[in-house]
Point group: C2
Chain length 192, copies 2
């Protein structure tokens, strides 16, 4: 159960067996059915979730009541709402499973204990957040500055497997376009 997550954290820092055990003891294994909320708007996010299996989305509901997908996450990714987790503020976003999922949850309290006991994990989490920041900055640039076909190509590059796994209207919501327009873009690109 801990094989992939341990391989993942060992990539950046070399840990002792005992340190990985402390880490694994801090994690809570959970099986979560499809279409279940891990976090709702207004709640305080008190976890970071490592995905063993499945696909999860985070989304926001805009002023017109439309869902705007901020991020997809699949196997070997972490998902959380760092703004809420960090500052203990109510979340602006929802986090929901799109498939049946298996996750390892690290709670705020357990994370603090882990970092006290094995400070070497600071580096792991710093690099993880840096990677996430880098992806979010990219998403921001794409959102602001690119036309829909380029947005779609960027999406396919960042998430090569997701378009086979989730309904097309979710991808359209991520791209900020209608499902019809997405379909037109796909047809046009497939002809090129």
């Amino acid at each position: 159960m801990f094989e992939t997550i341990n391989t993942n954290v060992n990539k950046t820092v070399a840990f002792l067996e005992t340190e990985l055990e402390t880490f694994n003891n801090a994690l809570q294994h959970k099986v979560i059915p499809k279409k279940t909320y891990l976090l709702r708007e207004g709640e305080i996010c008190d976890f970071e979730a490592y995905i063993l299996k499945g696909c999860i989305r985070s989304y926001y509901i805009d002023e017109n009541g439309s869902e705007v997908i901020l991020q997809f996450a699949i196997e070997d990714w972490w998902v959380s709402n760092i703004a809420s987790f960090n500052d203990k503020k109510p979340s602006k976003i929802f986090i929901e499973t799109l498939e049946d999922c298996e996750v390892l949850l690290l709670s705020t309290a357990n994370k603090e204990i882990l970092l006290d006991e094995v400070p070497k994990f600071e580096k792991v989490f710093r690099l993880m957040v840096q990677k996430n920041l880098s992806a979010t900055q990219n998403r921001l640039i794409t959102t602001i500055a690119k036309a829909a076909p380029e947005k779609y190509l960027d999406f396919m590059k960042q998430y090569p497997t997701i378009s086979q796994r989730v309904a097309q209207h979710y991808i359209a919501s991520y791209l900020g376009i209608s499902a019809e327009f997405l379909s037109k873009i796909r047809t046009r690109l497939s002809k090129q």
Copy 2:
């Protein structure tokens, strides 16, 4: 010269005098005139800059050749391009001073040495990146989901002092609207 930065890092972790000295020795003090590039598109970002004095912007040039401002940074903020810094990839963005600036630069090499010598700095940088991620996620939500007047109010909340310091067309560029439209929004809001 190191007073504010040391106070800043001491907020989250208690450092010894000698550890702060190691930190300060890793920093390079630089005076940079207004309208100078710290980073250009295509270059690899090899620094994180702590601002002692002045205002800096990071921006992107979109497919139509228009500048899109991603971030403003002022005193006591850090500015960098984490995507480029992290993965040693060419930057997609520009970082430019808007005022005469004084900064403390931490190079990639010095950061690595510092983290080896004083691993307690891992926490400082993790929390710094988390704060940045949280701000970037907020910016993304605002960009995608809010109308221009709300964007402007969000901007004023996040950057209460910047609208007095930079030309209005920079703020318009940050909000993704024309300077004329920004002026209309300001007039309308001032009447409310």
